[in-house]
């Protein structure tokens, strides 16, 4: 009975998502007949402010924000919340810096993907193809990671097997993304963001009331923390450095690079900045900056803080268990089943909204950036109906492959996934920032910068080379910058026609 009560809200939510997918597919049929890829991959540039904000935030907040992050916060304390709070800038930086320029140029050049924009700016086939491949590889591995995380939550919370959990929610997310395209992704992302907030509020209420109020919870945390400092086992939960046995476990250099990896350089993430091509007008982007900042801050600070406070309720976890189990055991152990079902949708929604966006953007890299582009280059006519068919097929195929791989995840994929988040930023940050704001930037610079930066990042990550305790994103972005500048001074400037379009203010 409890199991049923808990699954009920989850299934209602799944059915609602599917309904949205199919509804969108019906309503956008006319627009798709005219220009399929514009409608399917960016929703015909029609997003309003609220939906733009929610889809950006939902895509950005993944399984780690709802599961791994709060789990670590449970263990390390307030330092981990401080560490996660750098993400408050993630929503407004990408929209404020790139938002309008990408929208204006996107309209002028009829661009549908980030790779389209890069190809127009630098005029380099090699760079465009490299970018498309980076997107396909890293998006597939990230999706896989999300599938694994989502299935784990599902099975931990419901008692179903991992495979069953995977199957259930994978089918839902792949199906609505495939049939509905970007508009379905945006609308379901919005629904996901809303339930994430609801789930968080339910969880917060449960933790604080079980713990007997914040003051009570804090006295437990203070005691635990004092004992940890004395014995050297565990973490100082009330210090930003989260010392364990006298060693800083979140040292200052890590905080500094966190401002890059989860703050400033997130504007390079293609799954975020592709959203700059999809909104309706300047009013939408202005509103989205405000809403996005409110929600991303509430979620990142809120969820991680709840992780810490839950220490007042859940003193210890079984020996050898991962801190990822903290949130599921809170939900199943301390909440009414119906409410637990509602809460567990939160992390599932975080997973699904990330997968759907990666899926649609990954599919666009194959269909639009590789297939349609080749056709156009050869001056062949483009049959919108046929494009429609292969787009759906491609989305479904990418989704299915990731799901199958998630059943028994190959080590190599799990390993590549470790580089995905920083790798995408390294490959795209300078290409986009310099592309839009530095007239001299050219193809040689962009190519050397993104290939070199990415190579340095991945190799140093793989061999475990580190500068002090800085995260390797510093190496990736740093070498990317140096190589980009060197390449730009060696290479030829971009065509004047292009520069007049991207930098009219210089003429």
């Amino acid at each position: 009975m409890d199991n049923f009560l808990m699954l009920a809200p989850v299934f209602v939510f799944f059915i609602a998502l599917l309904g949205m997918g199919f509804y969108v597919q019906k309503t956008s049929a006319d627009a798709k007949a005219k220009n399929f890829s514009k409608e399917y991959f960016i929703g015909g540039r029609s997003l309003g402010g609220f939906v733009l904000a929610m889809t950006l935030v939902a895509t950005y907040s993944s399984v780690s924000s709802f599961l791994s992050g709060p789990g670590v916060a449970w263990q390390k304390g307030f330092g981990w919340v401080y560490y996660a709070s750098t993400q408050v800038v993630a929503a407004f930086i990408v929209l404020g810096v790139l938002g309008k320029k990408m929208a204006v140029i996107g309209r002028k050049t009829d661009s549908v993907t980030v790779v389209d924009v890069i190809r127009k700016r630098y005029g380099s086939e090699l760079l465009a193809n490299f970018s498309a491949v980076v997107i396909i590889v890293f998006f597939t591995t990230t999706m896989l990671g999300q599938f694994i995380g989502g299935a784990q939550i599902f099975s931990a919370a419901t008692g179903l097997s991992y495979e069953m959990g995977l199957l259930f929610f994978a089918i839902v997310v792949v199906l609505y993304t495939t049939v509905g395209g970007f508009n379905a992704v945006a609308i379901t992302d919005t629904a996901c963001a809303v339930v994430m907030v609801i789930g968080m509020v339910c969880l917060g209420y449960a933790i604080i009331s079980k713990g007997g109020g914040i003051a009570n919870i804090m006295s437990v945390i203070n005691e635990t923390s004092a004992a940890a400092v004395e014995t050297g086992e565990g973490f100082n939960m009330i210090s930003p450095y989260a010392e364990s046995a006298g060693v800083d476990t979140i040292p200052m250099p890590l905080y500094i690079t966190q401002w890059m990896l989860c703050g400033v350089t997130t504007l390079g993430l293609p799954q975020s900045n592709v959203r700059c091509l999809s909104y309706k007008n300047t009013q939408s982007v202005h509103k989205a900056m405000i809403y996005g900042t409110i929600v991303v801050g509430a979620m990142m600070v809120g969820m991680h803080m709840l992780g810490v406070l839950s220490r007042g309720v859940l003193l210890s976890i079984p020996e050898g268990a991962s801190t990822d189990t903290v949130v599921p055991s809170l939900v199943t152990g301390y909440m009414h089943p119906l409410l637990a079902g509602l809460t567990i949708i939160g992390p599932l929604a975080a997973t699904m909204s990330t997968i759907s966006s990666l899926l649609i953007a990954g599919s666009s890299a194959i269909v639009k950036d590789i297939y349609i582009h080749r056709k156009e280059a050869r001056n062949e006519e483009i049959n919108q109906k046929f494009v429609g068919k292969i787009s759906l097929l491609c989305t479904a195929f990418m989704g299915t492959v990731s799901v199958i791989m998630a059943i028994t995840p190959p080590d190599i994929i799990v390993w590549i996934n470790m580089f995905a988040f920083g790798g995408l930023q390294t490959a795209f940050f300078w290409t986009l920032v310099f592309g839009f704001f530095w007239k001299k930037a050219n193809a040689t610079g962009a190519l050397i910068g993104s290939v070199g930066g990415l190579a340095f990042y991945c190799v140093t990550m793989a061999i475990g080379f580190k500068i002090s305790t800085f995260h390797n994103i510093l190496i990736g972005i740093g070498t990317g910058l140096i190589l980009f500048v060197i390449g730009t001074y060696i290479g030829k400037p971009s065509e004047e026609k292009v520069l007049r379009m991207f930098f009219p203010e210089k003429y």
């Binding site: 307030f78 709070s85 204006v104 930003p240 300047t282 900056m289």
Partner: protein, 89 residues
């Protein structure tokens, strides 16, 4: 909605991007000062029973971000047509 030429839009967008970076910079400085700074000065202080450095830095940066973004949008950012009207003329 303001009528702007293609060139004027780019001058405006450069200004907006610069202002966004400045706002991000202010938030980062505030975040360091209210977190590490307050912890160094008053490690024991609490607000609502929680460590003061935590409340001031995490909730403070969040609220400061919202306030500054509203300022950006209302005072620096301008509404204009994202399509290029000149071309059709």
């Amino acid at each position: 909605m303001e009528k702007m030429t293609y060139k004027e839009k780019f001058i405006q967008m450069n200004k907006e991007a610069k202002a966004t970076w400045i706002v991000a910079g202010i938030i980062i400085v505030y975040w360091f000062a209210s977190g590490f700074g307050v912890y160094e000065l008053m490690p024991e202080a609490t607000i609502f029973s929680m460590p003061a450095w935590f409340v001031l830095s995490c909730f403070g940066s969040w609220i400061l971000s919202i306030v500054l973004v509203i300022f950006l949008v209302k005072k620096v950012f301008k509404n204009f047509d994202l399509d290029d009207e000149e071309e059709e003329m």
